[in-house]
Amino acid sequence: MATDLLESLQQQIVPAAGAATLSHGCLVFSLAPEELMPTVRRLKEEFGYDLFLDVTAVDWPADALRFEVVHHFASSRQPLRVRLKTRVAAADPSVDSLAKLYGSAAFMERECHDMYGIAFRGNHDLRPILLYEGFTGHPLRKDYPKGREQPLVPYRN
């Protein structure tokens, strides 16, 4: 059953993006940013991927498409998880928000925006969720200095 699903997912989901890879029991697709929304909609509506697990990002400072936005999905019916990787450039690090499809995505996109500065089009509440108002920069980007502190309370000495 898992192999059937694997084949049908591989054949039907974005064949343009090249073959999917299987990594630690997780089917991995690499997508272009504009393919993200239709792919996720198909995953949810046709393949039963009803659980949005996480969105995070990877910073590759040397690459032209610097940020890799990574989405994870699970299904209550399928024995296989799906990971979608979307590369975006540092000049415009934005992808579509999945908050309309999965309500929980709104919070996780806020965290990803905190840490990596990825803008999620369609998520209109990207206030800091783990960081605080007034924090400048995105601490999980590779160019954020390790020792840079932004204290809210002035130091005594």
Partner: protein, 174 residues
């Protein structure tokens, strides 16, 4: 049934010297310090994994009650010992400062564990590198987490510090 009889104890004649203490002399600071060091009311500002060790040292096997420091007050206004147990982040620092400022004098601060003392192994955007950057600290207890013996030693050192300190209660200097 026999009537109950109440023994009548004759009262001591007034003004008689019976050899008991009538007064003793001490220094005011010693007296006040002695009273204060055995009545520490801690406010546990517990944020992280050190809390487990705090519970262990508070519970019966180690029993901080022996040092008069057992009854946690969950209002800073009723506490005089602020125990900062665990990592404090920059986001949380204003809360810690407000708790400290709400405590009445006299007050003491204990940095419980290495994160509260110096930030520990965290050196990043999130962690406050030691609570002494924002509030004065009286006793630092190292360890990740500290052994209960170290916490007890810290409490006893704080007691020594209180006993040796000046305790102005009437005026600014006395």
């Amino acid at each position: 049934m026999a009537a109950r009889t109440v023994p009548i104890v004759p009262a001591a004649p007034t003004g008689a010297k019976d050899g008991a203490f009538e007064y003793l002399t001490t220094r005011k600071d010693e007296l006040v310090g002695w009273a204060r060091k055995f009545s520490l009311f801690p406010y546990p500002f517990v944020t992280a994994c050190c809390a487990m060790e705090f519970m262990a040292v508070s519970a019966s096997p180690y029993d901080t009650d022996r040092f008069g420091a057992a009854l946690p007050r969950f209002s800073p206004r009723q506490a005089d010992l602020l125990m900062v147990v665990g990592t404090v982040t920059h986001k949380q620092a204003p809360v810690l400062l407000k708790v400290y400022e709400q405590m009445c004098e006299p007050k003491w601060v204990m940095a419980f564990g290495v994160c509260a003392s110096s930030g520990g192994f965290y050196q990043n955007y999130a962690a406050l590198p030691g609570i002494d950057r924002i509030i004065p600290v009286d006793v630092y207890i190292p360890g990740c987490p500290p052994r209960p013996e170290m916490v007890i030693d810290g409490i006893m050192q704080l007691q020594d510090k209180i006993a040796r300190a000046q305790h102005p209660i009437l005026t600014r200097t006395f």
